[in-house]
C-alpha cells in the first residue's frame, strides 16, 4: 500500500524572488516563531526570565529587540510578544520557551501559521507605503520600530531591521499569495515584473 502522509510545502510556491537595484523581496522560510503572553500578574517575573536567558528586556512599546541566542522579540499587543529565530539544528522556540518560562507565560507556536517576508532596498518604503496606513517616513518609523496593522487589508506585524531600509512583515501563511499580488503590483513602477 502506498505510504500516506503530509508533505511539507513551501508557502511561497508561486513566488519568483525579486531582486533589482530598487528592491529585493525574500521569503524567510527557515524560521521558528512563537507568540507568548505573560500569565496574570507575572509580567515582571517573565521579563526577568527573558533577561536571564536572552539578555534583553521585553519591549513595552511597539518595537523589536534582538536578544542573545539569536532570538528577536517583537511587541505584539499589550503584554504579548512574537519571538523569531532561525530554525537550525531542529530549534523550536515553542518548546524552548515552555521550558524556560514555565508557568510565567502562555506560549503558542507560530512557525507554520505565519510566514515572514523581507522587503529591502531604496524603494522598499514607497512600495510598502502604498498599502500600509502608517507613516513609514524615517523620522516616524525607524530600525527597531514595529507595528501591528494591515497591508492591503491583510493583517500583518511589521518591523524595520535597518535603514537601507529593510522591513519584515509577518502574516498568516494562507494570505501569502494575496500579499505577493499586492506587493508586486505596488513594486511594478520600480522595474519589478509581475509574476
Amino acid at each position: 500500500m502506498a505510504k500516506q502522509g503530509l508533505t511539507a510545502t513551501s508557502a511561497f510556491l508561486h513566488w519568483k524572488p525579486v531582486a533589482n537595484s530598487n528592491l529585493t523581496v525574500d521569503a524567510r522560510e527557515t524560521l521558528t516563531m512563537a507568540s507568548f503572553a505573560a500569565a496574570k500578574g507575572k509580567k515582571d517575573e517573565l521579563n526577568a526570565a527573558v533577561r536571564a536567558a536572552y539578555g534583553v528586556d521585553l519591549p513595552k512599546t511597539p518595537s523589536r529587540v534582538e536578544g542573545q541566542q539569536g532570538v528577536a522579540f517583537v511587541w505584539a499587543g499589550p503584554e504579548q510578544w512574537l519571538a523569531v529565530a532561525e530554525r537550525k539544528d531542529g530549534r523550536d522556540l515553542e518548546t524552548e520557551f515552555k521550558k524556560t518560562f514555565g508557568p510565567l507565560a502562555s506560549v503558542v507556536d507560530q512557525s507554520d501559521g505565519r510566514v515572514v517576508v523581507r522587503i529591502s532596498g531604496p524603494r522598499a518604503r514607497e512600495v510598502l507605503a502604498k498599502g500600509i496606513p502608517l507613516d513609514l517616513h524615517e523620522t516616524a518609523f525607524r530600525p527597531g520600530s514595529a507595528a501591528i496593522t494591515h497591508a492591503s487589508h491583510i493583517g500583518v506585524i511589521l518591523w524595520q531591521i535597518d535603514d537601507k531600509p529593510t522591513y519584515e512583515v509577518a502574516l498568516f501563511r494562507s494570505y501569502v499569495d494575496s500579499f505577493a499580488h499586492w506587493l508586486l503590483d505596488s513594486a511594478a513602477e520600480y522595474g519589478v515584473a509581475h509574476a
Partner: protein, 98 residues
C-alpha cells in the same frame, strides 16, 4: 476619523470596530427585576447629541478594547483609555467604598 490607541498610537478608523455603549453595566441576573433590567441594558438607548462614551476594539491592531469619549455629531475625540484600565479603576474604587 482617527483614534489614538494608547498602545499603538494614532491609527485610522478602518483598524477599529465600534462595539457599543461603554456606560451600561451588565445587570445581576439574580435580581427580581432582571428581565426589565436586561431589556434596558441591551436595547434602550437615548442616543443624545454630544459626547458619548463608547467601546472600540482595535481589531486590525493590538486587539485591545478601548473606551473612547467621542462627540457623535463632530467626531471630536476627547479621551481614549484602555478598557482594562477603566475596569480596574472602577473595581478598586468599589473596593475602597465597601
Amino acid at each position: 476619523m482617527r483614534i489614538a490607541c494608547p498602545y499603538c498610537g494614532e491609527r485610522s478608523l478602518d483598524e477599529f470596530l465600534y462595539s457599543g455603549d461603554a456606560t451600561v453595566k451588565r445587570p445581576d441576573f439574580a435580581s427580581p427585576t432582571a428581565t426589565e433590567e436586561f431589556v434596558s441594558y441591551v436595547y434602550e438607548r437615548t442616543n443624545p447629541p454630544g459626547m458619548h462614551r463608547e467601546l472600540w476594539y482595535h481589531a486590525a491592531g493590538c486587539h485591545a478594547w478601548l473606551v473612547v469619549t467621542r462627540g457623535v455629531a463632530t467626531h471630536q475625540i476627547t479621551s481614549v483609555e484602555a478598557a482594562r484600565e477603566v475596569a480596574l479603576k472602577e473595581k478598586s474604587a468599589t473596593k475602597d467604598t465597601k
